[in-house]
């Protein structure tokens, strides 16, 4: 699967690995992302999941949405769980007890990636397991009721970082876990967003075939937590890239490269949209429209600009 990806090819070859009838919320991006990721390989694939929205919505006993083998253990250890299956595979294959070519992927929310799962993720990446770790990044602990995580954006109102008489929501900007993964010197790291299926599936394909550990950070707009209409998931995803809040790029063997719309913004072919477009589209930032938090909006814009400029430098090096 190394030829350029076509829509025709996707329609023809790829089995549906995540069945319909799961219990994700209407408008949730996670099912869309997972299905696109799983289109990235035509080989047998085994799915592992960290505890979270995605796992509980697809595996409520006695039902399962999975047409492929799927395993879950706990919240903070999806990477170790996936690594265990991959290790068993390596052992049995080396001993001649298995002859198939199997791929391994773990899906985790941002809490299970940025916070409690970071240690297990770091360990698995360092050890070089041949597995893809996908962060379904909806920027908070949505499964348990929109609590703040270290992926939550500055200024967002969550149930543990409320806006109020003296507070503008979350005080800290999100942690850059994508960069932390790059620092592990693994063969493939990328950021994706679900509106750009071609970019997403293409990157998933590269991740599966990179021959070692890979990491994809997927922005996953959440109608419940971000307070937008369920029908707007894809347009919100697009807006994240257009405002450079969520640039699309990949890092292959340490080499940064922008992709798709983000490359076009960098080339000056498309204008970078202001952060106010992003803030105005979502209820979680509604309070920031108040005059008294205008400095916070400026700080958020300054932070987005700083990160974008840093990324441009990394991509031009």
């Amino acid at each position: 699967m190394s030829a350029p990806l076509t829509l025709k090819e996707l329609n023809k070859d790829i089995p549906d690995r995540l069945a319909s009838g799961h219990r994700l919320c209407a408008g949730c991006a996670e099912g869309i992302i997972a299905r696109q990721i799983l289109m990235g390989t035509d080989k047998d694939v085994i799915v592992s999941c960290s505890t979270g929205c995605f796992e509980v919505s697809t595996t409520i006993f006695p039902y399962t949405s999975w047409n492929v083998p799927m395993i879950h253990t706990a919240f903070g250890n999806g990477a170790a769980g996936c690594a265990g299956v991959e290790t068993a595979y390596r052992s049995l294959k080396r001993q001649g007890k298995i002859d198939k070519d199997i791929k391994f992927v773990n899906f985790a929310g941002d809490g299970a990636t940025y916070d409690i799962g970071l240690q297990a993720l770091s360990g698995a990446m360092e050890r070089g397991h041949d597995m893809l770790f996908v962060c379904l990044n909806n920027e908070a602990y949505m499964n348990t009721g929109i609590q703040s995580s270290s992926a939550t954006a500055k200024g967002a109102s969550t149930t543990t970082s409320w806006n109020g008489a003296v507070a503008y929501g979350k005080k800290e900007a999100s942690k850059d876990v994508t960069a932390i993964m790059v620092a592990h010197n693994i063969p493939y790291v990328a950021q994706v967003a679900p509106h750009n299926w071609k970019d997403l599936v293409g990157k998933a394909r590269k991740a599966f075939e990179c021959g070692g550990p890979s990491f994809i950070n997927a922005l996953s707009p959440c109608p419940r937590g971000w307070r937008f209409d369920s029908k707007d998931t894809i347009s919100i995803s697009k807006l994240a890239v257009e405002t450079c809040v969520w640039p699309l790029f990949e890092v292959v063997d340490g080499e940064y490269a922008l992709s798709s719309e983000s490359q076009r913004i960098a080339d000056g072919k498309v204008e970078k949209k202001p952060i106010t477009d992003w803030i105005d589209a979502q209820g979680r930032f509604k309070h920031l429209k108040d005059e008294r938090w205008s400095n916070i909006v400026e700080e958020i814009q300054a932070d987005v600009d700083k990160r974008w400029n840093k990324l441009l430098k990394l991509c031009s090096l």
């Binding site: 999975w66 253990t73 250890n77 170790a80 298995i98 297990a120 360092e126």
Partner: protein, 391 residues
Amino acid sequence: MSSKVGTDIAINGDGAVALAWKQINPDVVAAYPITPQTIIVEDFSKYVANGEVDTEFIDVESEHSALTLCSTSSSAGARTFTATASQGLAYMWEMLPITAAMRVPVMMAVANRTVSGPININNDHGDVMSARDTGWLSIFAENVQEAYDMSIIGPRIAEHHEVQLPILVNLDGFILTHAIERMTPLDTQHVRDFVGEFKPLYPLLDTDHPVTHNLMDGPLFYFPHKYQMVVAMNKALDVAREVFAEFAKISGREYHMVEEYRCDDADYIAIVLGSSFGTMKQAVDNLRDEGMKVGVAMPRVYRPWPADEIAALCKGKKAVIVMDRHLSIGAYGPMFPEVCASIAVNGKMPEMYNFIYGLGGADTMVSDFMSVYKTVEAGKANTINYLGVKE
């Protein structure tokens, strides 16, 4: 055909466990090596480095990941072992009930050690007792030979298709892990024949038959699933008895659900776990020389709890002394209520005494154990006593 038993060797408890693992040749071993089980994985990784086993050996970044990796590896269809102790077992705790509920027969050697705090690295049973309600099978070794034997017996009980539960193989930290003793190993081929091939029931790696492992249970299914584990534990009682009998045939060493020493005609018996069983046997011998009718017993299998054997053992005794090397602060030692309950539901109660001893590696000598029986006989014991602690 080679002899079933090998030539005697001098080896410590950790080395003995590693040797058993080498002979079994598991598919995957993952561990976060810390004192005092370190030697197990050090020795084993040497076997890996020398190509003496087929095992994928993974040095993980934490015990939480170690047990996670072992659970999913076993779910995938690989025979998988690990080892830990103390804080390591505590750090694994979240994965203990999950591993058991996944019904994967992971084997874990536990070099029993106290848990912080205050920090203390020595032997007691604080680690494994904190894991006792998690659905793992749990068996104890008295000496280095038994640490080796239990490592070979363990997988047979755990992997039985009507059991399918993970197993803790306990050996006292430092007392057994680091003590060099004389041991008679088995011939490797006989070990392999005895343990047999691992036959996983629904391996994840069988991609032609996709299954979802460890789903979410609502209230309708959680309790029934737990009950299935109870059924499996009950079955393990029978399986353990059968496996012990089979092991006796290849080794000449007989093991029982509850090991007894001079209990038959004893008026006073003590019940103890692990290496202290040996020390107490000496105390019993000394007291018998003095004319006291005393005995001592060790539950070889702690989970499933051999309630019937314990009840039969205690029947007609003047007093039963339960020696606990751990303490449920504010209640009793963990084994005391279990022994009381086993007797109470089966017959008339003898006098019951609980002695807490040896926490944090506090030395407990033959003379200390002799004083236990004498205190009880003299009518000076409380229901709960703290051996060697001045109140």
